[in-house]
Amino acid sequence: MALLNNEDRRDIWRDFMRSISKRREPIGDITKQQLRELVDAADQWVNDNASSYNFALPLPPRNALSAKQKAEMLMFIVHRRFERA
């Protein structure tokens, strides 16, 4: 899967701000520009490590599932880990 485009990254940037604003949660003295750099870096990391994730999967599902299905699985796991944190 390709890197997200600028519009998608901007949406995530906004949605994250909405989320912490709704919780009125401290986030330290970082700027919103630094937060945008975080979005860019996280997306780049996912892109750079997609192959590593794929090769960590057991062979039958690795071959059977589409790239989108494997990404969805990863999304569910990360989301559940976020909820448990």
């Binding site: 009125r24 986030i27 919103k32 520009q33």
Partner: protein, 175 residues
């Protein structure tokens, strides 16, 4: 003479929202645990699509105004306390019998940079923009006007991650 005196207040619930106001919106939000529920206008840290977020107010300049200029007091809170800054701007437009009111003719906007670190969470902050008499589009006592308020989200100096919550605006006559 009203130099230094409060002329009038512009309350959030009286604001008009342009259709393309992006993510500025009116909210009745509980901001602390004392059951206080003010009407506030939310200006997010990023606009999608990219542009500023603004709202309009209308009013009439009081008869007591004596051409000393206006000081605009902006009462705001933020959702995320931080030392980062917001930049917001104000512009005035005089409405007279010859003005086509469906076309903007605002005088040049003036901006202010204010920090979100004025205290603990939900502490009311005050930013002030001063206009001299020539900067308010020729407004005199009795004139009808529109005032535009916006958060300049695309300015590199607007660094606050949290939302700007606009409570009200007080207009004083300059001294």
């Amino acid at each position: 003479m009203s130099a230094g005196q409060s002329l009038f207040y512009l309350y959030s619930q009286r604001a008009a929202f342009p259709q393309h106001s992006d993510s500025a919106y009116l909210s009745r939000r509980v901001i602390n645990l004392t059951a206080r529920q003010p009407n506030i206008i939310i200006f997010e840290g990023v606009s999608v699509p990219a542009s500023n977020q603004w709202v309009y107010f209308e009013g009439v300049i009081p008869q007591s105004y004596s051409n000393n200029g206006l000081d605009v007091y902006i009462y705001w809170t933020t959702t995320v306390v931080s030392a980062a800054n917001i930049i917001c701007g104000v512009a005035f437009e005089r409405i007279d019998s010859t003005l086509e009111i469906d076309t903007d003719s605002f005088a040049a906007a003036k901006t202010v940079t204010d920090s979100g670190s004025g205290g603990g969470s939900d502490t009311l902050l005050i930013a002030i923009i001063s206009f001299n008499h020539s900067e308010i589009d020729g407004l005199v006592a009795g004139d009808t006007f529109r005032m535009k308020f916006y958060r300049d989200t695309d300015d590199a100096g607007d660094t606050l991650i949290g939302e700007l919550e606009l409570h009200l605006i007080e207009i004083r006559e300059s001294t």
